[in-house]
Point group: C3
Chain length 377, copies 3
């Protein structure tokens, strides 16, 4: 690997171990911009989601894929995208991302009110192998069952859904936060809580007893099927209480689940990615990820990625785009990673901190090898 | 904007959206040094507040304004300052800051035992337009009222004080921390707490029920007068429990206050400025700020400012000095911002992350445009 | 100090104010690698502790001391180490660290199942002056006493152990976390908790009442003997609940202990080192430290050290290696510090943020002067 970051990381194939589908339909400009922020609200006066670190990254990497110069203004980019049509733009952007494999969380089926491309069509448009990640809470919320049957029914539904998938994913961070007790909830408490939910006619799972039971159900199913369990951690949309999504809150659960050997993959983590790195070093079962952090921090990707590499073992950090809704986010995620990791490793070599061979090996691991080993791809 | 950071940011006018008055009197050396630290205690053995990141910044930017070379020793600087006299030194330092507009928190009226210049005299010395920010707790603590009258009396006092001001500011972070419940306190609880305070003969407001009621009173008054509400977050003096000043603890309050549309401006934030950036991205009503972080981190300003720009929308980050007591802190705050943001944006351009036009626009927004729009200046 | 970081910091002598002993015996490769991670578990599939930021630092600094080129592969390094024998390798590595003085925590007497060199032999091998740091909880756990006698007996044992030592150290962060109440536990509560521990036949101290009483006992003994009290904060092994080791949780205790004047030295701190820096600025009694952070973050040492220097007064940050078990960790800790601080200060000078004289003075303080003053060496 030479001092040119881009050259250095041109080689490794990319396995995107956590992403979502993209909208196939034409999107209005506002709807498209609305997918460039974690906010689900209208922008504040004078603000556009393009005026952000992520917006800069989109304008850096995407216009060239549509035949415009890098840093083309947002309006020019949107006009060109309309001119090409959503299908052609999607095809170009996904192809430019040069992804080898995508592990798709199928728990979300729409964005900005439009259906997402099903995995098979995403695979074709991206020219990538696509495998499924099952979303725990989505599966459980679709289970019709009486309170007494609920534990068995969700376990069966999850086992059925996860068969053939490569991982299970939990969004517990959004629902109640990551301070999970060390003990599994007692069966009686679970049945009581399931009954209360049934009587209240709620679909959405927010009760901590049910959520924690569900997490342990996922541990059991993953142990049986030999799958990793992905957990959202760190920043997300306005639903989230950020401080409850600190992955270090998971320590009791991590220790309790450790004997079963199920790998726990902490997604994103920012701004608690250093905490996630410590967990990955301290516990053999814990892995961590770049996720949407690499895209959302735009010009700062190398600095943030450097922070992730402080404590996380090089065999336990994984590349992902967490792209959702827009094909742009696949291209941005991939290029931000190539550029950012290239910059980090070029700096390390220039500083004498590692050899060219070390740098190449680190890049290959994070780009693909760690994911291939972890998900048995 | 070229690769020279200083040149790049020479243009934008600066609106300092949060600062305090300065001492007009001559200060003893120790008293002056005591205003260069968040501590209100005597320094530890062998330590001087000048031996710090902020001290380096003072010695970098201030000696030239008084006719000495940059990095002059502290003793030489203090001698030169005495030689010129406080009035002349103040005039020179404030003029060198080249501030366009200052929004002054008038809640503090003294520093190191000396009166602060009133806003009108600060305006004249700085050659800047000065507008007032009203401090919520200071106004409320001056209200004489029986328990039953307290809610109405503080609302009236705040409305009166805020009329003609450009914002209200709360120091709740110092008094009880930022974990504000989503619900307004019940009137009966407020009256009971006001009665207890009255019986105890306390002036200082520390009861959480009264503090939370007061915050909601500020929301109401700000909504009525169409003013933003500033909130201290992050580091400060030894009174503070730092972990209770994490702005992410405000999420329940932010969501509860959102329908009223009052802008909430999170001041300083460090070391939780990434959390503040997320809130600014997730919620249209939330803004965030540089504040004393840019001055106190001295040589590290570009790195910290880079972190602030990771998630905060470019239309929602605001420049301020948070200068208090010393005219040096106005000059340091302004130069640290010009130099630090210049360095960040020069690096982004050199890296290909944004265009020169993008960099110029980002600088103009943070320097002044965002404040002008937010405070309707 | 010139622009060459290595040259710039070749001068200052190093006082390592917090470290442990090293294993004198030959270690199997796995056992040696096991001392290069905070984990006490076997590595995850495909992972070796050498594949980490710390592993890169070991391969950077240690092979040359054994006659191999920097960045030699781990296997080649381990083979060469065996060829030389543990005693000769230890002598070479410790000598290469060029340490002036080591303050050794004697609370741990073994690593990887092997005895550690006693302080006198470490002194000889390193060519350094060695002084003792007494570990609070280890002393207290060795005290045989009835419940009613326990408070007096541990105070006497600690006073005896600390006489002749240079500091007392607490690992409360591991046992119950750092949220220590402002009030000393009542004597009756302490006796009751000591009785419960006695009846349960426990040696290990985990009861918060006993731990907090012990901390105050240490404050008293340190005040009497005029010694500083070191506290583990931040990351560590899997025993730890990371979020409970945030030093900002100590604020109530810091304020309560302040009148006694005992210096409190916050070790490591990462990823809460910015919080530690604030405490060191706000409270005259608080000091902070580099510790194992400088070694474990490998290529990132300059960035992390920069963060420590944002708020911590230059007279209150101390160098240490926190080396434990391996002589490699003394050499890595010393070289990481020389290189990292050299890089930080060279960058500051290049940026115009400080003068060469300032940089030299900062380096001398952190390297040795602060420790000499604090521990009266």
């Amino acid at each position: 690997m030479g001092p040119d970051p881009a050259a250095g990381l041109a080689v490794p194939a990319l396995v995107d171990h956590h992403c979502h589908g993209v909208v196939a339909a034409e999107l209005a400009d506002d709807a498209l911009a609305g997918l460039l922020t974690e906010s689900d609200r209208p922008p504040a006066p004078g603000c556009s989601p393009f005026d952000s670190a992520l917006g800069l990254a989109v304008r850096r990497w995407c216009p060239p894929a549509l035949g415009l110069p890098a840093h083309a203004p947002a309006a020019a980019y949107l006009a060109r995208r309309r001119e090409l049509g959503a299908a052609e733009a999607t095809r170009r952007l996904l192809a430019a991302a040069r992804l080898d494999t995508c592990l798709v969380d199928t728990g979300l089926t729409a964005a900005a009110g439009h259906a997402l491309l099903p995995p098979s069509e995403l695979a074709e448009a991206a020219g990538a192998l696509v495998r499924e990640v099952v979303r725990l809470e989505t599966v459980a919320e679709a289970v019709p069952a009486g309170a007494g049957d609920w534990p068995r029914a969700v376990a069966e539904a999850l086992a059925a859904a996860a068969t053939g998938a490569v991982a299970v994913k939990s969004v517990l961070a959004y629902r109640h936060g990551l301070a999970v007790p060390a003990e599994r909830p007692a069966r009686a408490a679970v049945v009581a809580a399931a009954g209360a939910r049934l009587r209240a006619g709620r679909t959405r799972l927010t009760d901590p007893v049910l959520l924690h039971h569900l997490l342990w159900t996922a541990v059991d199913v993953c142990a049986e099927l030999r799958l990793p369990l992905q957990l959202h951690t760190g920043f997300g949309d306005p639903d989230l209480d950020l401080h409850r999504a600190d992955p270090s809150l998971l320590a009791d659960f991590v220790r309790a689940a450790e004997p079963g050997g199920v790998p726990l993959v902490l997604l994103h983590g920012y701004p608690y990615h250093r905490q996630a790195g410590w967990l990955a070093q301290a516990f053999p079962t814990v892995y961590t990820d770049l996720g949407l952090t690499a895209s959302y921090t735009g010009p700062r990707v190398a600095a943030v990625l450097g922070e992730m590499l402080e404590l996380a073992p090089f065999g336990k950090l994984l590349f992902s785009t967490d792209a959702y809704g827009l094909p742009e986010l696949f291209l941005v995620g991939a290029e931000q990673f190539r550029h950012g990791l290239g910059a980090v490793l070029a700096e390390w070599q220039a500083d004498g901190a590692c050899s060219a061979a070390d740098a190449r090996r680190i890049a290959e691991r994070i780009a693909a090898d760690n994911a291939r080993r972890l998900y048995a791809l």
